[in-house]
């Protein structure tokens, strides 16, 4: 197990280092090393410190947050089809962001508004799914899906109104997910919330292991099921909202990475959460590096790129597995 985690960590460092090299201008390792040591040494140092490093850090942050949030919710609901946006976090954030961009709200205030709206939506969904002290999985999914589709309709309406207006490209780029134009400041805004989310996730790991066996069994071995559900939901909502605020809606990572993680380290929540974080970070860094180099100087939205690589890879993994199981 230690070897597997060492391999995952090494992989993450490797792709992060690789992502430093590529971009609008290809930089050589020696130049980057020099820039890393001397932050104020000129143009290359500015590229490394102000453009590439924050982008890689944000990619890692977003990927890890989404993957942990997905692993938490899949475990809580015992449903492998759940993604971190299930609780309406992204739809709520998207509505707030789309509305504020089209209304011309100052760009600096937009992420905070999105974050607040995302969390507010998750709280609403949880309140609708409440039954006594605990949460009803089916009601949670139904409430999340129906609120999300209501918000999607609102976004569609706004998009038809702003077509051709100056704000349209900003809205579309946000909806498709992108890491471009983000700075250290954006990361520092979101980091404390995600940190709180990670702490709550770690605290819930043992309960999550018991919840794998069903709510009744978890209660029978002494899990306070209601409290565990609220903690896990709060954690995943904080993580997903922080990620969405930074990058817009990036699909796929939160849904698929936990599956790959379970394949690598088994179903123990402690390992799954850690492996999901490392894999999610690495995958997002790679996808972002590709998105800005494949058709440079044009950028493909990272969400689109992730789906293009990820969906076939995932289908292949799963279909192959089923064939082996049948044989």
């Amino acid at each position: 197990m230690i070897l597997r985690f060492a391999a995952l960590a090494a992989g993450l460092l490797g792709v992060a280092a690789g992502a430093l090299l590529v971009g609008g201008t290809v930089l050589w390792p020696a130049a980057i090393w020099n820039a890393l040591l001397h932050p104020n040494s000129g143009e290359i140092a500015t590229i490394v410190w102000q453009l590439r490093l924050p982008r890689i850090a944000i990619g890692a942050f977003v990927g890890a947050s989404l993957a942990i949030a997905g692993a938490l919710l899949q475990g809580l609901l015992r449903n492998p089809l759940v993604d971190p946006y299930l609780t309406g976090v992204s739809a709520g954030a998207a509505v707030a962001i789309v509305l504020s961009i089209s209304a011309g709200v100052a760009a600096a205030a937009v992420p905070a508004l999105g974050f607040a709206a995302g969390l507010a939506t998750a709280i609403t969904v949880a309140a609708l799914a409440r039954r006594g002290a605990s949460l009803d999985a089916t009601r949670l999914i139904l409430a999340g899906v129906s609120l999300s589709s209501l918000f999607a309709a609102i976004i569609a309406l706004v998009l038809t109104r702003v077509q051709g207006a100056g704000s349209a490209p900003a809205i579309v780029s946000w909806l498709a997910g992108t890491l471009s134009g983000r700075s250290w400041g954006d990361l520092f805004f979101a980091a404390p919330y995600a940190f709180l989310g990670v702490v709550l996730a770690l605290l819930s790991a043992p309960a999550l292991n018991a919840l794998r066996l069903g709510d009744t069994r978890a209660a029978a071995v002494g899990v306070d099921v209601g409290r565990a559900q609220w903690t896990i939901l709060a954690s995943s909502s904080l993580l997903a909202a922080s990620a969405v605020t930074l990058s817009g809606t990036i699909g796929f990572v939160g849904l698929i990475v936990p599956h790959i993680a379970r394949r690598m380290v088994g179903s123990d929540a402690r390992y799954v959460l850690a492996a999901s974080a490392l894999l999610g970070a690495a995958l997002t860094i790679v996808a972002d590096a590709l998105s800005r180099t494949l058709f440079a100087p044009a950028e493909i939205p990272i969400g689109v790129l992730l789906a293009f690589i990820g969906v076939p890879a995932f289908l292949y993994l799963y279909l192959r597995d089923r064939r082996t199981a049948a044989a």
């Binding site: 015992r78 794998r212 066996l213 978890a218």
Partner: protein
């Protein structure tokens, strides 16, 4: 050990069981029988502290189970349900390790040597040592049932409550499970178990409780509770009993 006084249980506001008072002693093997919907599972859950009483009290060693914290309760009472489970990549050891949850504080993330011993002992008790690393999804119903029992044994609780542990099992697997429960009683545990087959109850339990008409029809030594007359009342079926040439008494519904 368990003292139940004037216990009342309601489901969706309607009374299911009422005016139940009885005691269960340490080291007993008690079986609960009755028709579907008679309240067997609800009663078992209330005894295990997994649902509140709607009236009256359930006390464990003179202390109300409602006053136990979840972890405290789970160190005293293990509850085995046969609900199915779906979890990707779950091994037998993962399942049984969940039984150690109530013995850990929130910062204790890893298993210590005592956990490992409890898990190994539980695997041995149900004769599944060689299954530890098998995926749970690949097991048969009988093997799964034994894993659920091992989970409860790993909990190291003196009380073992089981809801229909022989439910979907073939004759051989059912005998195996009941034999395991009997061994647990010999090892000092108290077992309370919902069963459907009066002959299983008669062969393995010390006392039997028949539930009918919103209360206890009989709660007595197995030879006094599991009589054709009482079972007729409990199930609304004509029953007869025969003694086999080898001397075992069997009860079954008579053909009409």
């Amino acid at each position: 050990m368990i003292a139940v006084r004037d216990l009342e249980l309601r489901v969706a506001g309607k009374p299911l069981l009422a005016a139940m008072s009885f005691d269960i002693g340490a080291g007993e093997f008690v079986s609960i029988l009755g028709r579907n919907g008679a309240g067997k599972t609800t009663l078992l859950r209330a005894l295990a502290g997994l649902r509140p009483a709607d009236g009256g009290s359930v006390a464990l060693q003179s202390r109300s189970v409602a006053a136990f914290s979840p972890a405290e309760r789970s160190r005293a009472i293990a509850f085995v349900t046969s609900d199915d489970v779906f979890a990707d990549r779950l091994t037998v050891r993962d399942v049984i390790a969940a039984g150690r949850y109530p013995h850990h504080r929130w910062w204790q993330w890893t298993q210590d040597s005592h956990d490992a011993k409890a898990i190994a002992g539980a695997l041995e008790a149900v004769e599944l040592q060689s299954f530890a690393d098998r995926e749970f999804a690949t097991l048969s119903s009988g093997e799964r049932q034994r894993v659920w029992i091992a989970l409860a044994i790993a909990q190291e609780a003196p009380l073992l409550f089981l809801d229909e542990p022989t439910g979907h099992l073939d004759l051989r697997a059912a005998q195996h499970v009941l034999k395991l429960l009997r061994e647990q009683v010999h090892a000092g545990k108290t077992v309370v178990c919902v069963l459907h087959d009066p002959n299983e109850a008669a062969a393995y339990a010390d006392r039997a409780m028949l539930l009918a008409a919103g209360g206890i029809l009989a709660f007595d030594r197995r030879d006094r509770a599991l009589t054709p007359a009482l079972l007729e009342q409990a199930y609304g079926l004509k029953m007869e009993s025969v003694t086999t040439p080898s001397g075992i008494s069997r009860i079954f519904p008579s053909a009409t």
